[in-house]
Amino acid sequence: MTWPVTRVTLRLRLAGTAWAALGLVAVMLVVGALYPAVGHTIGKLNVPSSVANLLGGADYGTITGWFRSEIAAVYAPLVIGALAITGASAATAGEEEDGILALVLAHPSLRSRLVLAKAAAIAAIVLTVALAVWVGLILGVAVGGGGITVSHITALAVQVAFFGLAAGAVSLALGAGTGRRSLANGGAATVAILGWLVNSFAPLVGSIAWLKYASLFYYYAGHDPLTRGVDVPGIVVLGLVSLALTAAAVVGFDRRDLRA
């Protein structure tokens, strides 16, 4: 590992990460505060199951369903995924396109260590945002009158952290492997969003229901961590995907020419 690279990568993203974390906490406080007034009124939406799946069940009548639909189904994975994907692409392909890596790699650093240093920085960002999800949920649920245990909140934060790591690893592999920032951003965003859609729609069609297993989103939320706690197999899959893609990033970056 090349710690100076990790430190600078984090330093350059400190402000963005801090604002995103504060924003998450603030949004969850507001969502919690709205639940007593709005949640009971809405109840369970009578919408097609495909739409309900997209919204994490669309059960706004319970505090668990409220936070599942408002935070767990879209907002938390969106924020953590966006920060992980853009952070990983900027730290690899972005710095390469800008010409900064040509200077950094003229120093005595192994390419593999450089990629691992970048991966460590992105992991730290993901964990910071996941911590913000945890803090925000605890505060938001408390403001909303309680009803979700800390262990279930922790389960969601852990699951979303692993989702962020995997989404970031997709971007890292594409960014380090190709040196193209737009490809890394677009490719990783496509994987994440397609995964969300596939996880929502595939189970509704018997013949393609198996496709959900190809979705990162399934391993994050398929087990419903806010109700059922940590999904160890899901975490293992997301962890292995992250490790495999990070290894692919190391190998891909080591084997190719740095782009001019």
């Binding site: 600078v8 010409g99 120093h107 005595p108 650093s109 020419d257």
Partner: protein
């Protein structure tokens, strides 16, 4: 310090297709030399430098830097080499000092006195964010980072781009000191005037191929010479253009400026047939040498 050449390339090639890249470069740069690497944009100068630092990999051939193989022993090479990229980019949000600290940490630390002395020498502003610095001031940071660990070999791609004349002077003085210490400088430029005062030898690249490697003295020897001859009567320039060895003739009033290769005999004898008011030799124009090598040749 290693014995043998500071840089040795053997058949070094990087083929980007469509005739772009570097082809079969054979080159040796001796320790203690200030070696100029010249060529127009796209000639392959930066490609060569990037190959030497293992930023890109050769299609064929090989190179050794400080006696080390550029592919297998790149890490050690990069420890002992200072590099200034041609398209220098730095983190715009960091201050110059923070950027230099970061790069120093990548080397396991450098002597801060050397860095501060270089900053003073180049009058560099280390405390402003890099995004607020002009191109020239960013280039100063690039030079400081390349020199601050006192490397055995400096590979500098277009080092004085954007520098004002005073800083250029400081830079040239520094190169002289480095050479006197036995350290080597390999620097590129696309204009000869930038390097002619400091280089011991130079190589000229065109379209990825080495055209010539020689000292400036030797290049001057084969250069086009010029005589400015002021005549007392009207002289037809065509008379001189037809002489053997004459490359070009410029006419201005009663004065002809005649460029020729080899002996001046034919020019002087032809001039003697007219009333000659004055003959003034013109200093060899090194840019002419340079441009001649740059010029495309048919086939």
């Amino acid at each position: 310090m290693s014995d043998g050449p500071a840089i040795a390339a053997t058949g070094l090639s990087k083929d980007y297709g469509s005739g772009r890249g570097l082809f079969a470069l054979d080159l040796e740069v001796e320790p203690g030399e200030i070696f100029g690497f010249l060529g127009p944009n796209g000639a392959g100068k930066s490609t060569t430098m990037r190959l030497l630092l293992d930023l890109i990999r050769p299609t064929s051939g090989s190179a050794r830097v400080l006696g080390l193989d550029t592919r297998r022993e790149s890490l050690e090479i990069r420890r002992r080499v200072g590099f200034l990229p041609g398209d220098l980019a730095l983190h715009p949000k960091l201050t110059g000092r923070a950027m230099l600290d970061h790069l120093a940490q990548l080397r396991g630390g450098v002597d801060p006195r050397v860095r501060d002395s270089l900053a003073e020498r180049f009058d560099a502003d280390l405390d402003r964010p890099i995004r607020q610095l002009s191109t020239g001031n960013r280039q100063k940071l690039g030079l400081i980072q390349a020199f601050m660990h006192e490397p055995e070999l400096l590979i500098l791609d277009e080092p004085i781009a954007g520098l004002d004349p005073l800083v250029q002077q400081s830079f040239h003085a520094l190169l002289g000191e480095i050479s006197a210490e036995g350290r080597t400088v390999f620097l590129s430029s696309h204009t000869l005037s930038e390097v002619e005062r400091v280089t011991h030898r130079l190589a000229i690249l065109r379209r990825g191929r080495l055209v010539v490697v020689d000292s400036l003295e030797n290049l001057r020897r084969v250069a086009v010479q010029r005589l400015e001859i002021e005549f007392g009567d009207d002289v037809d320039p065509a008379e001189f253009r037809a002489l053997p060895g004459v490359a070009d003739v410029e006419a201005s009033g009663g004065t002809l400026t005649i460029g020729f290769e080899g002996s001046a005999d034919a020019v002087v004898k032809a001039a003697a047939a007219h009333e000659v008011v004055a003959i003034r030799p013109r200093e060899d124009d090194l840019e002419d040498i340079f441009l001649r090598y740059f010029r495309e040749t048919p086939g």
